[in-house]
Amino acid sequence: MTTLPKTTNKKLGLVIDLDTCVGCHACVISCKGWNTENYGAPLSDQDPYGAESTGTFLNRVHSYEVQPLATSTMPHPAAQLIHFPKSCLHCEDAPCVTVCPTGASYKREEDGIVLVNEADCIGCGLCAWACPYGAREMDAQEGVMKKCTLCVDRIYNENLPEIDREPACVRTCPAGARHFGDFADPESHVSRLTAERGGMELMPEQGTKPVNRYLPPRPKDRMDVPQLTDTLAPHLAPVADEPKGFMNWLDKALDRI
């Protein structure tokens, strides 16, 4: 059914920490690996070793540069580079679900995961048109729509050791930049992170009510702000600001040369 459930019992999703992501793309690879070797049509590549290689991915890492505005105290503010992983945000008001003519796309009432039943998908692509985030990709080999499953075949999988019952991308991330949990539970790890760090929605104006949250990066490089340049500076105050006596003469003499 492509009508959306009114509410879901759980709201499973990811918190992605833009402050700690180092842009290593490990989540991209582990996602592709898990989702090619397990549930559903494999994520194919076209011309993988050629000049024009392309392929299907459920998770991609962009990189953005943020250039703060120059001010009188910070005439040359340092630009910040932010790595930005993006996979399906398992939206509460998922437009990708309601447009689907076949019922292949659906949102689960029990946990809010948005999935595609590949056996019903006609490959019309309309759901990918409706997703503002580019979270759906049509597999060129299989002609069906692929998207992040929130690793539904891991998180409930009793054949896996308990420590592995979380999404492949979360399990893999070496920087701990991806967190998985239930946003419907205010005490969950992900809800607390969101509350503490001001977790944000992407494109809130699109009205999709994404479940996934992004933690904003903290400002890192403050070279321009004198008081922050060196925490040891106060203890290492220069002994003499202006050279005097012989040193003054030497200074001037050297300047003249």
Partner: protein, 292 residues
């Protein structure tokens, strides 16, 4: 958006075909016998041919029947229902006119209404998408309906109606273009809201996720040069609307009417190409491909 030829052919031809069916259903012209056969054959070739073309871009056309299941939520599914019911009702009406010399007017009115419903549902598939601000407007159904009616009147030989509807459709087209050019910047979606990083300063896409291209870029990030687009708009407007009107105003001849129809179809196909090629999907923002 990638201007897929199958979708351009589909929306252009089926729009015309259902427009023609609308007028046939209303009894304009009130044809019977062989004449009716010719009119209905043309309408069905356009409408059905267009629908068939649209299945070419499906990944799994053999499962197309499943698309009838979600009419409660999906405009694409509703379009399927509208198309099948319009074609069935008009087939019964047409059979009456062709073989029995009979005109079941009620059936005709119903068929006419359903034909318009097809065009409306098609337009809503595009108009519903918030992700494509240029399409996400009430003007889109107005554009599709006015085009289909104008083209239908032209094909049905309803000169008076065509002379009213064509300029009207042309006006809607121009307004739609003007509104569309502002749509992305007015939508409030830009690279800052897309990334949530706007508070820290000016956001610039620094590196895409891959060195190569991908499905998203192929499907959604088609960039047409401004000059190129402007020229095509002039061509679309001249051939689609202006020239047919001028030709219809000249003393009537079948040859001129034929040229008017061909000119109209070419113009509308051009306008449809632009409809897709100029449509900016917001996902392009993530790739730094949109200047809002």
């Amino acid at each position: 958006m990638h201007p897929a030829p199958s979708v351009i052919v589909f929306t252009t031809l089926s729009g015309l075909g259902f427009g023609l069916l609308f007028f046939l259903g209303l009894g304009m012209p009130a044809v019977t016998g062989l004449n009716a056969f010719i009119f209905f054959a043309i309408a069905y070739i356009l409408a059905v041919g267009g629908l068939m073309a649209s299945t070419f871009h499906l990944g799994h056309p053999e499962r197309a029947l499943k698309a009838f299941s979600q009419w409660r939520s999906s405009w694409l599914s509703r379009e399927g229902w509208a198309a099948v019911s319009a074609l069935l009702v008009m087939a019964a009406f047409g059979a009456g006119a062709v073989f029995l010399d009979a005109r079941f007017s009620l059936l005709g009115f119903l068929g006419a209404a359903l034909s318009l419903a097809v065009v409306f549902t098609t337009s809503m598939i595009y108009a519903q998408l918030k992700t494509i601000p240029r399409w996400n407007t009430h003007m889109t159904p107005v554009l599709f309906l006015s085009l289909s009616l104008a083209g239908g009147a032209l094909l049905a030989g309803q000169i008076t109606y065509a002379l009213i509807l064509l300029p009207l459709a042309g006006l809607v087209q121009v307004l739609w273009w003007m509104q569309g050019d502002k749509a992305l910047s007015q939508s409030g979606t830009d690279i800052a809201t897309a990334t949530g990083l706007g508070e820290g300063g000016t956001v610039r896409a620094f590196e895409p996720p891959h060195t190569g291209t991908n499905y998203l870029l192929r499907e959604f990030v088609h960039v047409v040069g401004r000059k190129h687009a402007a020229k095509l708009r002039v061509i679309a407007f001249t051939l689609g609307y202006a020239l047919p009107v001028i030709l219809l105003l000249l003393p009537f001849s079948h040859a001129l009417a034929g040229v008017a129809v061909l000119s109209h179809i070419t113009g509308i196909a051009t306008s449809r190409w632009l409809f897709f090629a100029e449509a900016e999907h917001v996902v392009g923002l993530y790739y730094g491909k949109r200047v809002a």
